[in-house]
Amino acid sequence: MLGPQNQSTSLQRLNHAEKMIVHALELSGLAMDELANSTGPRTDVLDGHCGEFMQSMKEIQTTLREEIKSACDYRPFEKCDYGARISNEICCQKLEYIAEKLDRMKKTIVQFNDDANLTS
């Protein structure tokens, strides 16, 4: 289902974008923590966080832009398949019925053979 990144579905890409947003929020929390460090913020760590944050922002933006571009217009129920669905339901009923009858026939045959074996 989840193949390589370039083959993932649109929904999975959007899901990924959401996760990136959550991650960005986490990063900002970490950055704040770093700034609030009592011994003073470590610049490299802070730089790392901020850099990651900006990177993820960029990624989120590109993903969303692509998705928006590729979203098609919403056509309400043009290809409703309820008719075909009912046909299939009827076919399912037919098949169930036939299967049941065949099972009974098989049982009868088996019973007949058993009786024949018993009497012979």
């Binding site: 996760k19 970490l30 923590d33 700034l35 609030a36 037919k94 036939i98 009858k101």
Partner: protein, 662 residues
């Protein structure tokens, strides 16, 4: 102590000067603010200032003398501060009370170094605290967002999957209700069905609400009591067929294991979750369709249908009578009723014979049992199959036609099966029922016949038309005879070329309620000689059920005679054929006749044989009365198999070869 008292002048206008011309000069009017200002200026702070200076000098003199108390300077500073504060407070109060005085400007005193440092420290400490607070806030919100994202992902994954198969609609709840998401529903009505009559119940059923629980799991409400199914019954007849469909069992299991499902939520595939919703939606959709079928049946029953009368019509039950004495009721039953008693069969009827998918029926061993059950319901088709058929008719005839009519509006003539005409599907259905019942009777009659004639076999041919049934009775020449025949005439490699039959077929077709019998007594159609002139007979009869046995038996007997005739010709006997007789010409003009006697009611066998000896009278040997004791002698041979008949022929050969009477 001296106290100075200052008295204000009365606020009168006093004359200041007067000049020679009599002009009075008054003092200028001092404004209100000016007056106030003057009064303030009159406050004399000098005493206070002098006192302070005096005190300072005194204190400094004293301080040098006495032993310094460690807090003394603090106390003095505080006292000084207090005095200064009180002055300032007074000033402020005066300023507040007097509108004439406002503060022009204030200058901040220059900060001492340690003060500025402490200020910086305090501000940075507060900043750090705020940053920490912010950091915590971000982390918390990221966790909450993550939870919400997973919840929504779970929900929308399921929703997307549902949307692939069902019509999902969104309604935006009003803006006045803050915080509520948009509400999703599923519409189960097909677009083209809106024109057909729907009951109010099915329209309630047609919109399904989608709920989302706290964990984001999508659930679909299942209105248990509103779901119904169509049921066809013959009153007084209980079918063995259990209405338990494969799907229905699953729905029940879904409803009963809700809690377990919730426990096993974590880490499950979203497809599994959606399966239950799909199942519920399928059940509801099916229920709506079956209700529509019932409503349409109700509607159609208002029209006149030949042979069909409405007995009773209720909200969920319609009873019709079809033909003579056949009653059918169409009912809408709740789908998930739990009444196991109804399904138990108290009477010991065997499983009803359905006119469904039978390919061959060999020598009917079932026919023996048939007689012992009193009711005629054995001939009724299985109601379950009728339910399926009715739905199929409705769907094909009405629904698809409707769709076609919508999409191809200008077309007036729709290519369709003539029998599943949308307007007449109820008539077609009722006629099918009566046809099926009649067809079962015909078949049981045929089976009875076939049971009593050993060399006759019954085949049922499905016609794929619900009102036409067809059977084939085939007479098969046993293999032993075929082999022996081949021994006699080995030179004839290809039997077919000479038109030697090993099968004779009689076809029985039931069209509606008309029986047509067509039998062959001729060469095979594939004969290369095309010798149709040599008595190509395909006899066609239409008859009643009462006459059918006799017709068939006569046909079969005729075929046997025909076959014997051909065999005799092969062997070289001189034979001639009559309706049901085969005459062998012996020497001296004697004739030996083999006569077939058909009796449908004979239990031991339907076709029995007589041997008639007719010596040179040239009269047709017929089965006459037994008191005809002339030159004819009859010998009753009984029911003979084909082998026996064939060996009889052989004997006759030897007879005619060796001559003499018998």
């Amino acid at each position: 102590m001296n106290m100075e008292i200052d008295l204000d002048k009365l606020p009168l206008k006093r004359l200041e000067a007067i000049d020679e011309a009599g002009n009075e000069q008054f003092p200028l009017d001092i404004g209100y603010e000016e007056k106030r200002l003057n009064m303030v200026r009159r406050i004399d702070f000098s005493s206070v200032v002098e006192e302070r200076d005096a005190k300072k000098q005194k204190n400094s003199k004293e301080a040098a003398g006495t032993q310094p108390w460690p807090w003394q300077s603090l106390v003095e500073n505080l006292q000084v501060a207090q005095q200064e504060l009180s002055i300032i407070l007074d000033l402020i109060n005066t300023v507040e009370a007097n509108d004439a005085v406002t503060v022009a400007g204030m200058q901040r005193p220059k900060q001492l170094p340690h003060e500025s440092l402490s200020d910086i420290v305090v501000s940075s400490a507060t900043k750090l605290q705020r940053l920490r607070h912010l950091g915590r806030y971000f982390k918390q919100s990221s966790k909450a967002l993550e939870q919400q994202v997973t919840r929504e992902t779970r929900f929308y994954d399921s929703l997307i999957r549902l949307q692939q198969n069902w019509k999902v609609k969104r309604q935006h709840v009003g803006i006045s209700v803050p915080g509520s998401e948009s509400c999703f529903t599923i519409d189960l009505l097909h677009n083209s069905m809106t024109d057909l009559v729907l009951s109010s119940r099915s329209s309630i059923l047609s919109t399904v609400h989608i709920d989302q629980d706290h964990a984001g799991v999508l659930t679909v409400k299942f209105p248990l009591r509103l779901c119904r199914r169509l049921s066809i019954e013959f009153p007084g007849f209980h079918s063995n067929h259990e209405q338990k469909s494969f799907q229905k069992g699953k729905v029940e299991s879904v409803l009963h294991t809700r809690e377990d499902e919730k426990m096993a939520l974590a880490g499950e595939d979203v497809n599994e979750h959606v399966k239950d919703s799909h199942l519920i939606l399928r059940e509801m959709h099916r229920s709506i369709f079956q209700e529509q079928v019932f409503n349409l049946v109700n509607q159609k029953s208002y029209n006149y249908l030949p042979g069909v009368n409405v007995i009773s019509m209720q909200d969920d039950c319609l009873q019709l009578s079809i033909g003579h004495g056949t009653y059918v009721s169409f009912r809408l039953l709740p789908s998930l009723e739990e009444e196991p008693n109804e399904k138990m069969n108290s009477n010991n009827q065997p499983q009803n014979r359905e006119s469904g998918i039978r390919s061959t029926s060999s020598l009917g061993s079932e026919t023996v049992d048939e007689k012992s059950y009193p009711m005629d319901y054995l001939n009724f088709p299985d109601p379950a199959s009728l339910e399926i058929f009715l739905q199929y008719l409705f769907h094909e005839g009405v629904f698809l036609k409707f769709k076609e009519r919508r999409t191809y509006a200008p077309r007036l003539v729709m290519p369709s099966q003539p029998t599943s005409d949308g307007c007449n599907f109820l008539g077609h259905f009722c006629m099918t029922i009566s046809h099926r019942i009649f067809s079962m009777r015909v078949m049981s009659m045929l089976e009875g016949l076939v049971a009593r004639v050993p060399y006759l076999h019954l085949h049922y041919h499905p016609t794929w038309h619900s009102r036409i049934s067809s059977w084939c009775l085939s007479l098969k020449v046993p293999l032993s005879i075929l082999h022996s025949r081949r021994r006699i005439k080995p030179s004839e490699s290809n039997d077919l070329k000479r038109g030697f039959r090993s099968h004779f077929h009689t076809k029985v077709v039931l069209n509606g309620d008309q029986i047509n019998v067509s039998g062959e007594g001729t060469h095979e159609v594939g004969s290369l000689r095309g010798d149709f002139a040599a008595g190509c007979l395909i006899n066609c009869y239409s008859c009643d059920l009462v006459d059918l046995p006799m017709v068939i038996l006569q046909q079969v007997a005729g075929q046997v005679i025909h076959w014997l005739h051909e065999e005799a010709l092969i062997i070289g006997l001189k034979v001639s054929r009559d309706f049901l007789c085969l005459w062998f010409s012996l020497d001296q003009g004697d004739k030996l006749g083999l006569v077939a006697n058909v009796n449908a009611g004979d239990i031991r066998g339907c076709i029995s044989w007589w041997l008639v000896f007719d010596d040179s009278s040239m009269e047709e040997g017929k089965l006459g009365a037994t008191d005809d004791g002339e030159r004819r002698s009859h010998k009753f041979l009984g029911n003979l198999s084909l082998e026996t008949l064939y060996s009889t022929l052989m004997d006759l050969v030897s007879l005619s070869v060796y001559g003499g009477g018998h």
